[in-house]
């Protein structure tokens, strides 16, 4: 083998190795990256786990923007302490019923495949239109999430209470008097759905809503929503 042929063979081999090396490197990196996405550490938290399972680690924040029928919402939470989260949300039903609220969430269980949290919120109800309503609201809810791979099935049970006051003024010959009376509007809530991790800081969620407004006087109108979940922080 003369020097020319030897040099040429070496160049071909080196070029081959040089081209092959990055491919091998990418192939070698893929299983690591795939493993990271396929098995998120649910205990560390990400927006999907935090929003659907409730609670958040200290310094972690997440926001959910959901749109659907009949309910749409903007929700945010920020973790502090060991298991607590500050909550804020604005919810609307078809632009006729608005309910801003703020509160506190506490993570009761944080397991690799199960997460349970309790939340309490204080807010205000504004319902427009023919059946105008307004007044303070209290809400309590429990979230159950079951992370598996990159998806998070969840169930939400809630109870909402609105205090609605009415005023009756009576004009008598002797003068006028006003009397306030209070009504109670109860809205039990059942939600269920499925969230999916897209990246470490972004997720999607599709859910069903069974909010029974003014139960038991009315009927349940089921709904659905699609949400984008983003988050970050420590």
């Amino acid at each position: 083998m003369d020097m020319t042929r030897t040099t040429g063979l070496l160049v071909v081999v080196c070029l081959g190795l040089g081209m092959a090396s990055p491919v091998r490197a990418e192939n070698a990196a893929e299983p690591v990256q795939a493993a990271t996405l396929a098995e998120p550490d649910w205990r560390v938290g990400n927006p999907v786990a935090d929003q659907l399972g409730g609670g958040a680690d200290a310094g972690r924040w997440s926001v959910a923007v959901s749109g659907g029928w009949a309910w749409s919402a903007l929700r945010g939470q920020y973790g502090f302490g060991s298991r607590l989260a500050a909550l804020a949300q604005v919810e609307t039903a078809l632009g006729f019923r608005f309910q801003p609220a703020a509160g506190l969430g506490v993570r009761l269980l944080s397991h690799k495949h199960a997460r349970i949290a309790a939340e309490g919120l204080f807010g205000w109800l504004f319902q427009l239109g023919e059946l105008e309503k307004r007044g303070p609201t209290l809400e309590a809810r429990v979230r159950f999430a079951f992370p598996a791979g990159r998806v998070v099935p969840y169930v939400l049970l809630g109870t909402r209470h609105a205090i609605l006051s009415d005023r009756t003024s009576i004009e008598r010959a002797s003068g006028s008097t006003s009397k306030y009376t209070v009504r109670h509007e109860w809205t039990p809530w059942l939600g269920a759905g499925l969230g999916a991790v897209i990246t470490k800081n972004v997720g999607l969620e599709l859910g069903l809503d069974y909010g029974w407004v003014d139960a038991p006087e009315t009927v349940v109108i089921p709904g659905f929503h699609l949400a984008v979940l983003v988050g970050g922080g420590r």
Binding site: K133, R134, D166, R167, T168, S169
Partner: protein, 149 residues
């Protein structure tokens, strides 16, 4: 803080409470109604009285006549002395309608009962906290909508 400022603050808080909290805001006008009902063979039969707005809702040619807001069964129909609460925001005027329940079934007339008399009167002296009326029941089986306007 002076008393004036405290009153101002209380007024502002009251206004906010009214705007943010009060749902149904009902204004009622108390009316003391005195009068008598007359009918042939009144006897001890029960008289049913209904108090209506003369105009319930709508305006002009689209105005809807009559809107019942109170009912009563007076113990003694020949000497009526009642106090009613008139919803101010729901309509205008005051109309009193009555009928004689001869068979005591609580229903105005029936295929086998075609002689129960009814009558209606628009109270001219309303609005006032004290009104008087004389109601004559002389139209068999007539509903209020058949007698007014």
């Amino acid at each position: 803080m002076t008393k004036t400022k405290l009153r101002g603050l209380a007024g502002v808080l009251g206004a906010l409470f009214s705007v943010g909290c009060v749902n149904s805001d009902v204004y009622l006008y108390e009316v003391h109604v005195r009068g008598a009902v007359s009918a042939q063979n009144l006897g001890s039969s029960v008289v049913h009285l209904e108090f209506h707005h003369a105009q319930f809702f709508g305006h002009g040619e689209l105005a809807h006549p009559l809107g019942r807001f109170a009912t009563s069964i007076p113990e003694n129909p020949t000497v009526i002395d009642e106090t009613i609460l008139y919803p101010l925001d729901a309509g205008e005027g005051l109309v009193i309608y009555g009928w004689l329940d001869k068979d005591g079934d609580g229903v105005l007339c029936a295929p086998t009962q075609t002689t129960e008399p009814a009558g209606l009167i628009a109270v001219k002296s309303f609005p006032a906290h004290e009104v008087t009326f004389e109601l004559k029941l002389d139209r068999p089986c007539a509903g209020s909508e058949a007698l007014y306007p």
